[in-house]
């Protein structure tokens, strides 16, 4: 099959170009963030950490970074137990009602984000949750739940529930048997779900645009506002850091998953 026909060459070149199109924009932000000038020129006149200094030295950016990390961390701490409990229930129940519950829990993936954002904004405006930390965390918990549930339901599929039965027949109560027998075996899928919920909260933009404000603005909202006005290379530095954080987390998730087979 090693015929280098014209068709094959065209195919390979085409695929290479498409892959370049996919990866180039992700990579281009790195040299931009280290450039010493405001405008991107090739080759970059000199390397500098100017934009990173700008980012770290700016109180507003730092405050937004703190908000983003606090929101993402709290989101994971709340969404993970809720999602694991729901996934456990979904896997262990054959009720028709539970199938409907499962479908409803996937709603955040189905409803276009702009509709969710406007709807939440409206409800928050009525109950006074606009521009609050709790409002931001709650919305992100809702958006992160489907990731945790999907991941853990998949993890529980390869788990034999009879093992938990054995532990219970030996005198453990249900809760203890879950923590002693089931949880250690689905650990990887729980971690994957938690990491995806964290990334989802870190990257979330549209809902934050509508419901956040004042001192509780996440990084993405400040970036969005900055991008609407002008192209500030500080954003390249922040983008590079955000992308590095995402990749690191995905890497952890995928190596963990491999380990547990």
């Amino acid at each position: 099959m090693k015929t280098f026909s014209l068709g094959r060459i065209v195919f390979v070149v085409f695929c290479a170009l498409v892959l370049l199109y996919l990866i180039l924009p992700v990579l281009i932000i790195v040299p931009m963030s280290f450039s010493s000038t405001r405008f991107l020129t090739f080759p970059p006149p000199a390397l500098s950490l100017r934009w990173y200094e700008e980012y770290i030295g700016n109180a507003a950016w730092m405050q937004a970074t703190r908000v983003t990390f606090a929101v993402a961390t709290l989101t994971v701490l709340i969404a993970t137990p809720l999602g694991v409990a729901a996934a456990y229930a979904i896997s262990n129940s054959k009720m028709r009602l539970m199938r409907i519950v499962h479908m409803m829990l996937m709603l955040p993936l189905v409803v276009p984000i702009i509709i969710t954002a406007v709807g939440i904004f409206f409800v928050y405006a009525k109950v006074g949750l606009v521009a609050t930390m709790s409002g931001l965390v709650l919305a992100n918990v809702m958006l992160g739940l489907p990731y945790v549930i999907t991941s853990v339901v998949a993890g529980l599929q390869s788990f034999d529930p009879a093992q938990e039965m054995v532990a219970r027949s030996l005198g453990m109560n249900r809760l203890r048997s879950f923590f002693a027998v089931t949880l250690p075996q689905i650990k990887a899928s729980v971690l994957t779900g938690a990491i995806f919920a964290f990334i989802s909260a870190m990257d979330e933009t549209v809902v934050g645009l509508f419901i956040s404000g004042g001192q509780y603005q996440p990084l993405t909202k400040r970036m969005f506002t900055a991008l609407r006005d002008e192209i500030d290379p500080t954003i390249a530095a922040i983008s590079t850091l955000m992308t590095a954080a995402s990749f690191l987390l995905v890497l952890i998730a995928s190596t963990r998953q491999k380990k547990s087979g």
Binding site: P25, A86, A89, P108, T150, F210, T220, M242
Partner: protein, 289 residues
Amino acid sequence: MTHSTPDLSLRHHRREQGLMLALASPALLVILLLIVLPVGWLAWQSIYHDGFTLENYRRIFSEAIYWRSFSLTFQISLLVTLLALLLGYPIAYAASVVPKGWSVLILALVILPFWTSVLVRAYAWLALLQRTGVINQFLQYLGIIDEPLALVHNTFGTVVATVHILLPFMVLPLYATMQKIPHDLMQAGASLGGSPSHTFWRIFLPLSLPGVLAGTTLVFVLCLGFYITPELLGGGRTVMVSLLVSRNVELYDQWGAASAVGVVLLLGVLVIFLIVGRFIPLDRILGQK
């Protein structure tokens, strides 16, 4: 006492079901309060304003600005889906037939952008496509153009960035389907005298159609409600439906109109999922997200 056993197991069954519902209820409560209630409220608001009224719907179906936006959104989504399929199918095909090391590399190049923030990618495209951006500078350096091209702040820039962001949603379900197509089938086709292109068109392509359906549905639906790229790269000219919703809220304080547009968009999305759900299970589409 013999008949108490089924009674006992029934009671046990009931208790078990009650426990499972209780376990799912906190998550369900979050969903009910933060998405069902808000969207329901939105729908209510679109038909109720000091009494029932269909005024909002009458408006969005009669005023040109709404019509134009709906048709533009539909056209852009169609174009983006088509482009994503044209670019994504060969990539998924390549990943499914090359040796493992290469397919890992191809998939990594697809997944890395997938896990990069949409906002970061929108920014990268702004930097690449703007008048003083990399692409214009490069083309001028080569002497292909004298004046910088208007590559962004228009529909072109929106489409380029949107395809980029949604392409992984096309490739991943395609690859998941193609990976399961047994290679023996192609070999059998070839051994019976089928040319490579013949076996591709007659065997591989038909078997990959479920993946095509899943990928195109996901990309189309996501594109219908896309907000960040048209807002940042559209330059105010590419008013897609999502922008119409946000402007009605932010600029004009027209909640009723925004709600009605949102309801129409949501209904469109749900109808598409319902129709496609008859052919392939929905979690296969949503599993990629």
